[in-house]
């Protein structure tokens, strides 16, 4: 059980990184990762919502299957995620205003982050157990955090120092950078975890 959880988590962070090998959550990745602080904030918010959503959606999935409504999965999951994000936002605003202020703008964006829905759907597809799902969600979020932070670091340097052809300025060179990081992350695929 424990070894399974460790291997699921490690592979979700490294070998099967959501951004670099599964292509989930690219929009905030390209859009937000301008500087490191915002990237870290976004990554933490996503990790938090993702673990929570994995836990809640596991029960929702159980309920839908029991009622024979499995075809409503997508609809139910996105509603759960949207309301969860709303609740988290309200809770933080009331209780931890400092965290709310630093995450503020990123929270509503998480609803449309396909990494969150992706993690939940993948869990449902695999039919994982409760703890496995939660750890997978958390680890996938951490993988997202790792990727977005790494990328922000590279991009900060890119903006200041790099010279590139005019037509590659902006998004194209960022995507090519991401391609090279993805290539590096492929190295983790050969790793045998437990």
């Amino acid at each position: 059980m424990l070894s399974r959880i460790v291997s699921v988590s490690l592979s979700a962070i490294l070998a099967e990184n959501f951004i670099f090998s599964r292509f989930l959550g690219i929009c905030p990745f390209v859009g937000v990762a301008g500087c490191r602080d915002t990237a870290v904030g976004m990554g933490l918010a996503v990790t938090f919502v993702m673990s929570l959503a994995s836990a809640v959606c596991w029960w929702v999935d159980r309920l839908l299957t029991a009622l024979g409504l499995a075809y409503l999965q997508t609809l139910a999951f996105i509603l759960v995620i949207a309301s969860l994000v709303q609740f988290v936002e309200m809770f933080l605003r009331k209780n931890i205003p400092s965290l709310y202020r630093s995450l503020g703008i990123y929270l509503p964006l998480i609803t449309t982050n396909c990494a969150v829905l992706g993690a939940v759907l993948l869990n449902a597809q695999e039919g994982s157990g409760f703890f496995e799902s939660v750890f997978f969600g958390a680890a996938a979020g951490l993988g997202f955090l790792l990727a977005i932070t790494l990328f922000a670091e590279v991009r900060e340097r890119l903006d200041y120092s790099a010279e590139c052809p005019k037509c590659f300025e902006g998004t194209p060179i960022s995507l090519i950078t991401a391609a090279l990081i993805a290539l590096a992350f492929m190295g983790f695929r050969g790793m045998k975890i437990l």
Binding site: L24, L72, L75, F168, I176
Partner: protein, 215 residues
């Protein structure tokens, strides 16, 4: 008249992927072969048209404060319909697109068009906008998947043409299989956007996006 302009906007000027950078996840993830790219593009186009029409019809009934939630429910409904239809009619496509079909729900193109256009336009305009944005998205997917499939596995149109076999244009062992992997997705899209930026700066009129020869 106005519809013509809407079409030009979606296909070239305001192309959802190349200009607005929306829907990047699916653009890179599914374009490993023409079959997948075309299937994904057309599915999104169908969903986009249905959602735009539906939202345009309901635009006076939806209260402003909960509009995003309503849009999400409408979109998720149509996505589920398309998902089930694909599972029944084209199981091969449904299998290879996997989780990316239900993920159309969070594709920013659809909710973006609902918010920016369909909630304010008449039904025919909303339909035309959905069609043109969807086809603009499909065009990018087709270009990317042709390039990646050709260079990555040496085939053209496997699963679509020639009775499903496609054409093997050169032996697979000469192909650069890295282009099929995630690395190739980022690289091809980067080159494609660079090509478009180049064409835009070279001539003021941003016409004719030819095949991505730059990569």
């Amino acid at each position: 008249m106005k519809l013509g302009r809407i079409f030009r906007e979606g296909l070239v000027k305001n192309n959802p992927v190349l200009s607005l950078l929306l829907g990047l996840c699916s653009t890179m993830a599914v374009t490993t072969s023409l079959f997948n790219g075309l299937g994904m593009g057309l599915s999104v186009t169908v969903i986009l048209c249905c959602c735009n029409v539906c939202i345009s019809l309901l635009r006076r009934l939806i209260p402003d404060s909960v509009r995003i939630a309503v849009y999400v429910v409408i979109i998720a409904g149509f996505v589920t319909v398309v998902d089930l239809l694909l599972q029944a009619l084209l199981p091969a496509l449904s299998e290879s697109l996997g989780v990316f079909i239900p993920l159309i729900v969070v594709n920013c193109i659809i909710i973006g068009r609902a918010e920016a256009f369909a909630s304010r336009a008449s039904v025919p305009e909303a339909f035309a906008d959905g069609l043109s944005q969807g086809l603009g998205y499909t065009a990018v997917l087709v270009i990317m998947s042709v390039v990646r499939e050709l260079l990555g596995s040496g085939t053209f149109g496997a699963g679509v043409f020639n009775g499903g076999a496609g054409w093997q244009l050169f032996p697979e062992e000469y192909a650069c299989s890295y282009l099929i992997l995630p690395f190739g997705g980022f690289l091809t899209l980067g080159c494609l956007i660079a090509l478009v930026q180049h064409l835009r700066t070279r001539r003021s009129s941003p016409e004719s996006r030819e095949e991505g020869g730059a990569c």
